[in-house]
């Protein structure tokens, strides 16, 4: 119930604003430019999601099901780009390929005068794909690891080729995970501002920001944001179609066995090449640029106490957000899956609103309610954590829900038939089974909250500097070198939970 209200706040805000001046709002929505923006945003979203699937599914398969050399290392490396905020990634790419950039310096001796410009659609597509595909990789990996090998073995026994099995047996079973991951990627792309603004690709989000920045037009911005929610509903509907067959637990008696590994043979080298190429683009280049910048800043000086304080604040706020989001996600997931109540289903869907909207819109919605309803808590740490929960709850909810789907109701029924109470079953049977999923969800919230900027700037207590605000403070005055150290610290502290998440297998 409480979570439902939290999830509904941004939407309520948009409804209030837009309904307050419906004429102006409609005018904004019906403009020709709006249609162009919708088309551009959809094109970018489709392109990024499709590419992310093309990267994430093979990567997941290589790292889970094959004898790829260095499999564990690739597992962590492949997921790591998730911790690079898209604004940092985009900037790193832009500067690396620029006239005096790192990459340009490297190719100069080869006689390449100037690298092609990567701004616009191409740049936005490239950076968003590289830094969001892990959102797909994680659920697909999880799903692959839980597949029942019997189906595949049966198909192989009947003479199907390895590739044929992959296509007809493995992929169809992955569809729900691909759907859930694609939804997260698509919503990220729709609401992202950092990458599209740096790459100068005019999208829906840049227009919302422009309306705030250039025209101080809150009604117009809210109208466009409302349209974004409509787009989100379409995406949710598409994703719901991928989960038609909901039960993912075994139907046959017995328990699932461990997976058989596929021998890659001579395909090992192309597979390694693929993993290496992705890691180079998504990890090596941005990190190299940051290291290069931070080395330059050592000539000057790094304000270590400030960086340390910011690190502490970042860990505190994101840690609390991850805990709170996980606590909110469990009851909703249980209710939505086991009891299929319309209320829980509605809340689950509604919670995606916060994720689909640009941070500034959610932040302003909370400013609106915070200054009218809970004035004493306005701009407190509690408020910031609450904002993170509104923004990132779907990340925790999606994984919690997926793990809940894999718990066979029969196990619970068995426990109940032996005289356990409903609550006791939930505590001793269900909870341990979904715990890994809930933890993974919390880690994902942590990773996303730690790089959040617009809501942090507006809603954090005054003087509460985080790594993200430190980076912003340095880059907004053009001191990229000084922003590089907090950026590297951000990557380092984010890598820890991600390592635990992927290596704990």
């Amino acid at each position: 119930m409480l979570v439902a209200v939290a999830a509904a706040l941004p939407l309520a805000y948009l409804v209030l604003i837009v309904a307050g001046s419906a004429d102006t709002a409609l005018e904004t929505i019906w403009r020709e430019r709006t249609a162009v923006l919708v088309a551009r945003s959809i094109a970018l979203t489709v392109a990024v999601t499709a590419t992310a699937i093309a990267i994430a599914v093979p990567l997941a398969w290589f790292t889970v099901r094959t004898d790829l050399p260095g499999r564990r290392l690739w597992t962590v490396l492949a997921a790591l780009p998730l911790v690079i905020p898209s604004y940092i990634g985009a900037y790193a790419f832009l500067s690396a390929t620029g006239p005096q950039g790192l990459l340009q310096d490297l190719v100069q001796p080869l006689g390449i005068g100037s690298l092609p410009s990567i701004t616009g659609f191409f740049g936005a597509w490239l950076t968003l794909t590289l830094f969001t595909y892990p959102l797909l990789l994680l659920p697909v990996r999880a799903s692959l690891r839980r597949l029942d090998p019997e189906l595949e073995e049966a198909a192989l026994a009947m003479g199907r080729s390895q590739a044929g099995v992959f296509r007809t047996i493995v992929v169809p079973q992955l569809v729900p995970a691909i759907g859930a991951g694609s939804l997260l990627v698509a919503l990220y792309v729709l609401s992202d501002f950092g990458a599209v603004s740096i790459m100068r690709f005019d999208s829906f989000t840049t227009s919302i920001y422009t309306l705030y920045k250039a025209s101080f037009d809150r009604i117009g911005a809210a109208s466009l944001a409302a349209l974004l929610v409509a787009l989100m509903l379409v995406l949710l509907w598409l994703e719901a179609r991928t989960r038609r067959r909901e039960a993912l637990y075994r139907s046959a008696p017995g328990s699932a066995r461990t997976m058989r590994q596929v021998n890659l043979g001579r395909w090992r080298w192309p597979a390694l090449g693929f993993c290496g190429a992705v890691a180079t683009l998504a990890l090596l280049i941005p990190v190299a640029v940051l290291v290069y910048w931070s080395l330059q800043s050592f000539a000057g000086s790094v304000d270590w106490p400030a960086v340390a304080a910011a690190t502490g604040n970042s860990l505190l706020a994101s840690g609390l957000a991850a805990t709170a989001a996980a606590l909110c996600a469990v009851p909703i997931a249980v209710l939505a899956v086991r009891f299929r109540g319309p209320f829980a289903m509605a809340v689950e869907r509604l919670s995606y609103t916060g994720h689909a909207l640009p941070g500034i819109v959610v932040a302003l919605a909370l400013v609106f309610f915070g200054t009218r309803v809970v004035i004493g808590l306005y701009q407190s740490l509690a408020m910031l954590v609450f904002a993170f929960v509104v923004l990132f709850l779907p990340l925790a909810l999606g994984i919690a829900r997926a793990s809940m789907l894999q718990v066979s109701p029969r196990v619970e029924e068995a426990a109940r038939s032996m005289g356990r109470s409903q609550w006791s079953v939930l505590r001793t049977v269900t909870a341990p089974l979904i715990a890994p999923g809930v933890l993974a969800g919390a880690a994902l919230v942590f990773l996303t909250a730690i790089k959040e900027l617009p809501a942090t700037l507006i809603l954090a207590p005054i003087g509460f500097e985080t790594l993200a605000t430190e980076i912003w403070g340095a880059t907004s005055v053009g001191f990229f070198e000084r922003g590089a150290v907090p950026a590297l610290v951000l990557l380092a502290v984010s890598a820890v939970p991600l390592y635990l998440l992927t290596a704990r297998e």
């Binding site: 309306l211 025209s215 500034i360």
Partner: protein, 349 residues
């Protein structure tokens, strides 16, 4: 107004919101901030929303505390986002003062009716041109648009007196500009106000036809002029002043067009919120920023134009009295939407 549009719905949301926020309160009761503003008289602590970066104004807040005992709690952010935040907060804004990077953001908050009139003693220190006509915000430092040029490629005499003439074919392939930059867009807005929509559109189309080199910021334009890649570029005065202060032989100089948008002077400024209980302390803050010491700081460190009479500009900067500015009301520069539309139609964006 928004808050009165749907009282019933809002009422419900209010109750619901209270419940929703109760969750984190329980979890984090210990972490809440201390909202302790003094109940009697004015507080010596000011809450400032600053669109100006800490790097530049941080030292001023330190000297404020040393000299007046006023302690500033500063929220740094983007000027326009802070303006939108103040507008949403309305009556309940915790902010006392809005320190904005540009006049447009101040104009927007003023238009929402959320700023209080400043005392005349504060306002009168600054030329009326650089403050709100309603007396609700005051400029604290200025920056001028200029035409930067490479001294080896162009002589001052070849440069036209009107910014409009840069649309002539003789400038083909020689211009650099940053059409996405806020300062540039403010100048185009000024041109719309002084020359009208049609002239502005023609000018933009003319520049686009000249195939200008496109940059993302002013600094890149300056560096490109210095490198001789382009002959001229539209930018802010202090980028050139900074480079010339470091290197006396720097090959870029600035040219002011006469009385048009090419030499617009925009300001950063201060407004006091009407909802603040600390009006006098806030006015004292404005006074401090307009003090000789702070104004010299802007002139020397950031190479901006001090707006207090009698404070010298940096030797690398051409004084305000030596060029003719366009006649525009700076509050009106908040109307950028039409500018973006023109830029788009002209193919500049």
């Amino acid at each position: 107004m928004i808050s009165t549009a749907r009282p019933d719905l809002l009422g419900r949301c209010r109750a619901a919101g209270a419940i929703a926020l109760a969750v984190p309160i329980l979890a984090l009761a210990a972490c809440g901030d201390d909202e302790g503003s003094g109940s009697d008289g004015e507080s010596q602590t000011l809450t400032v929303y600053s669109g100006r970066e800490e790097e530049y104004v941080g030292p001023l807040f330190e000297s404020l505390e040393e000299e007046t005992g006023i302690e500033a709690e500063v929220r740094y952010g983007d000027s326009a986002e802070l303006a939108a935040t103040i507008a949403e907060e309305g009556e309940n804004s915790p902010a006392d003062v809005f320190f904005s990077q540009d006049a447009g953001s101040l104009g927007a908050v003023e238009a929402e009716g959320l700023l209080a009139a400043l005392p005349d003693e504060v306002l009168d220190q600054v030329d009326p041109r650089y403050r709100s006509s309603a007396g609700e915000w005051v400029g604290t430092s200025g920056r001028a648009r200029v035409v930067g040029y490479n001294v080896d490629a162009v002589t001052e005499g070849e440069l036209p007196d009107s910014i409009l003439e840069f649309a002539d074919p003789e400038w083909e392939g020689r211009i650099g500009w940053a059409p996405t930059n806020g300062s540039f867009q403010a100048a185009v807005t000024a041109m719309r106000l002084t020359e009208g929509e049609d002239v502005t559109r023609e000018w933009l189309e003319g520049i686009v036809a000249n195939g200008p080199e496109q940059f993302s910021d002013n600094e890149a334009i300056r560096d490109s002029i210095a490198a001789g890649e382009i002959d001229v570029g539209f930018l802010n005065h202090y980028y050139v002043a900074e480079a010339r202060a470091e290197d006396p032989d720097y090959p870029v100089d600035v040219h002011f067009t006469s009385g048009d948008a090419g030499s617009l002077v925009n300001v950063a400024g201060i407004g006091v919120l009407a909802s603040s209980d600390n009006q006098e302390t806030a006015a004292e803050f404005a006074d401090h920023i307009l003090s000789e010491e702070s104004q010299s700081y802007f002139a020397e460190t950031v190479k901006e134009y001090p707006l207090l009479e009698g404070v010298e500009v940096d030797p690398m900067v051409v004084p305000l009295s030596e060029f003719e500015q366009p006649d525009v009301d700076l509050s009106q520069l908040s109307d950028l939407e039409g500018t973006l539309k023109l830029l788009e139609e002209a193919g500049a964006l």
